[in-house]
Symmetry: D2
Subunit: 233 residues, 4 copies
């Protein structure tokens, strides 16, 4: 049973090849007399994508999609994650997979408090035992799992297109997002920025992406960094 | 802390007024030279809706929507439920709501086994205590909830249109669906059949609605009832 | 064959009863230990909805939906309209409905130029004749309609929830939107503001709704009105 | 100005690499204790995908997406096409692109009737002239296009995932579909069957895919081929 910090793992397992080109050509299609063919220079793509993204005409970003294998996240996280409906999910089933010695996520604040941490870990060990005993008594897995905690980890495959990812990052890399899903969002952002820098240069919390904070939290360090500094230039 | 049986509660809190008329008029619009106005006889509506539903032209059913207040369901259930993406959800937040003496759902097979039932109930009591102690130690609610079990109950407001409901019923009233969500689906179906019988007369498992079983389970009692009997007539 | 100005007609034919209450109760559900029941004062609803809308937590607005019967709009308009995917449509079929002496929309700038207007109207009369002749020669309606112009009018029933409407208004009441769909958006906005003022008080172009212009057109009269004036207060 | 037959062109410009593997691994994730890694044998993939598709558990097919460049289709077609909401579109804009000597689609039945064909072609030539004259008189392109016919061709980039494509093929390769969109669907199906045969072996009209005809047209040649013959084996 592992500590949370060592567990969350995000792998970009597949994506539209040349995702920047796919989106830039789609954008060009809207304004061209002939269907655009072949390549574009990196500069041409950058110019096109910068216009599209800054002006909010982001429907063309839907033509690039990204598939992530996500391991070792809590069921608390996945319950939040699957609320994003512009996405596709395949999640490990607690109805069908027996989780012996299940792994769990321990929140950092609990991990950092020895008394809380011990209490938490004891409870996880105990739940694992009870879950196993219910299964041994012949209770169906789909019923035994009712004792499993939110902290129990899950594996999930997620596909989102670049437009949906922008929205996901606006909401979930914000400092007001819950710590575990923010961590996931940051790992995903890092992956796609490596693969498609022109598509995700401006991705991040809404204050970075759009220069506004809908929550009105203007004293947060991101708002100071992304909005205040820019205005003072 | 209540037994599951007494807890699940489904209330139809709002719906499109005259939902059958809304859908029937929309269907008529597709084939009429003038925008159809005013009422239709019950027979006219029935004829129109029967054609639309049996022939699968169900997009017109999207014009009627239904809002349910759902109480006392487990987080196992809500995690499955929100995977239906053609729907709208507002769920009680475990980040923000303190659940003292939280309620829980106990699976019927566990409830029916005295030894399993005692073990399960003891564990629930214990988790409630641990959750409370973590909160008292200053751990944030959003972290303390990591110990809460799948069995913990939740409240959720759900809006689906009639087309999405048909799909939900096809999948979730099937005998192969998990017991708790099947129970929910049956309660929701009962509500909408009272309110809009013409829209939901044929709603139910896919064998009832479409005369097929994609899983190929032809010895199940629903298949026998809805497909075999009909064919023998 | 009518002048465009006399033709577009928008009727709100159905909507969630008490749409403001439906959304406000859903918002309350997220933060309450018990499922909220019964009514709320108008002030309570207003406070709740103002927070939800200004902070962008607009998923709760999905619980209220609105159905419009729209008559006398061009096929240019409906082709744009149905690109809004968070909505339901039932449109008059040109495959199945014979459009004798079809009606058409004439763009105001063409209507205001006598030479252009005559040319346009002559062509419409001619197309109507050709369409009729092709039908008489036994050509299927679904083929004869290939000669029909974008200007030909259509009837369409549209259902959108309040969240989707907000997005629609942000894009389509903007002065940069095409004139015909902007006209439609303004008529729809007027209807829902009468019915649910608390939900749509801040609805409108994105500069009004969010205080930003993604297109960077800061010299437009809406931006001046909604952003500049407010900042100078 | 070209005859329709020479014009429709469908190119598969991008797709998820190894689309069959992406979907098969996602399916495995649901039932595995560990996140599945690496490859699978062709046989293993086939077994997995056959189960998934035949049993209707097709959400895993959403992880593979396909992008098509579509040229030379009518606006009648694109207006139908974009009604499929589980897809992404970037279409040539008639507001912004000047279509001099615009191309058009001529329906085969009209093309095959000399009198109808001449009348149709004359009208297209005339509309092209009127459109050009309105533009020369200073009318905005977005207004001049109101005279353009449904037959005018358009370019569009479309991205759909494999699940959405299955649904598209069920509806649009059916013999009851309109001839132009059926032609498009068949060209798209041919492309994806070359690229991902295991995903699309059973794709086609719903009688082929599911063994039923919701329209009840059991004397059609596809029903005879796909349902009757199979049953008699």
């Amino acid at each position: 049973m592992a500590h949370y910090a060592s567990r969350m793992k995000v792998t970009l397992v597949a994506h539209t090849p040349e995702p920047e080109l796919a989106c830039a050509l789609a954008a060009k299609t809207c304004h061209a007399a002939k269907m655009p063919k072949g390549g574009m220079t990196r500069e041409g793509m950058k110019r096109m994508l910068d216009i599209v993204i800054s002006s909010g005409h982001t429907s063309v970003l839907e033509h690039a999609s990204f598939t992530f294998a996500i391991e070792g996240v809590s069921r608390s996280l996945t319950h939040q994650l699957v609320r994003h409906r512009m996405a596709s999910y395949s999640q490990q089933s607690q109805r069908h997979v027996k989780l012996k010695d299940f792994e769990y996520v321990i929140p950092p604040k609990i991990a950092g408090n020895p008394k809380a941490s011990n209490m938490f870990r004891d409870e996880m060990a105990r739940l694992s035992k009870v879950y196993g005993q219910l299964a041994e008594m012949g209770m169906p897995l789909e019923d035994a799992r009712y004792v499993l905690p939110n902290a129990a980890t899950s594996n999930i495959v997620v596909t989102m297109n670049a437009r949906s990812l922008h929205n996901f990052f606006e909401l979930r890399t914000c400092l007001r997002a819950q710590w575990e899903i923010r961590k996931l969002a940051n790992l995903m952002l890092k992956e796609v920025q490596k693969t498609a820098p022109l598509l995700f240069e401006w991705a991040g919390p809404i204050c970075k992406a759009r220069g506004i904070c809908l929550e009105g939290v203007t004293d947060c360090k991101f708002y100071q960094l992304y909005v205040k500094k820019k205005k003072s230039l």
